[in-house]
Amino acid sequence: MVIDFSTYYDMPRNLDSFFEELWRPTSLSQRRVAYPPVNISETEEELIVTSEIPGMDTDDVELTLNEKSLVIRGAKKNEVGNYYRQERPTGSFQRIINLNVAVQVDGIKASMKDGLLRVSLPKAKESRPMTISIDAQ
């Protein structure tokens, strides 16, 4: 073999990664449980869903909005060649994100940059917080 990728060679680094696993930030406890990882945040006006899907063309990622959920679906292709090491996930993947509020279907925007998918879903008017003015009498 021309390159030595044997696990033996990596020994000091493997120890390092073992300790890194132990010290992994607890706020990311769900990391690597499901693929692709998804973050969800909200403002008063919209829900924002972001996901790390590196190496994918926008055409290969399918977004579907059902009545109460957003589905991210796609498939990662295998590279051609003789593998020495394969850690990147391949094959089809799917994440279903339950939406607990009604969203405006026509206002949904999705974009991808540097392998990060970002979907913004504006909340329907009915589900936004509203201040009610009280008339003085």
Partner: protein, 122 residues
């Protein structure tokens, strides 16, 4: 540990070993490294003797006035080192970063390329 010093210099970002594929084709070795969120300016690739070190920082823009409901990933630094043998043509190493995927191409040195040996009729 070997990387104690480096850890102290960037205490805020958690470090991750990015998922990597290494494969061989006839022309050389191809290394694919998943680095979502890393732009060209946040990536460094250094070759020191036999060690090829890749470092990338993924820092996502903060969403204004947003409240996090569910978190599975975050900012981080990807670090990975590869050991390269003499069979690789160092001058010919190429790297490209597209859509959060880093592709490294390590061509084989000419003398390691497969070649056909002619049989001479006697």
């Amino acid at each position: 540990m070997t990387n104690d010093l480096e850890k102290k210099t960037t205490p805020t970002l958690p470090r991750f070993r990015p998922n990597t594929d290494v494969l061989e084709r006839e022309d050389g070795f191809h290394i694919f490294v998943d680095m979502p969120g890393v732009g060209k300016d946040d990536l460094s690739i250094d070759l020191r003797e036999n060690e090829l070190e890749i470092r990338g920082r993924a820092v996502y823009p903060r969403e204004e006035n947003a409240k996090a409901l569910h978190v599975e990933f975050g900012d981080g630094e990807y670090v990975r080192t590869f050991t390269i043998s003499d069979g690789v043509d160092r001058e010919g190493i190429r790297a490209s970063l597209k859509k959060g995927l880093l592709e490294l191409f390590l061509p084989k040195a000419a003398r390691f390329k497969p070649r056909r040996i002619e049989i001479q009729a006697g």
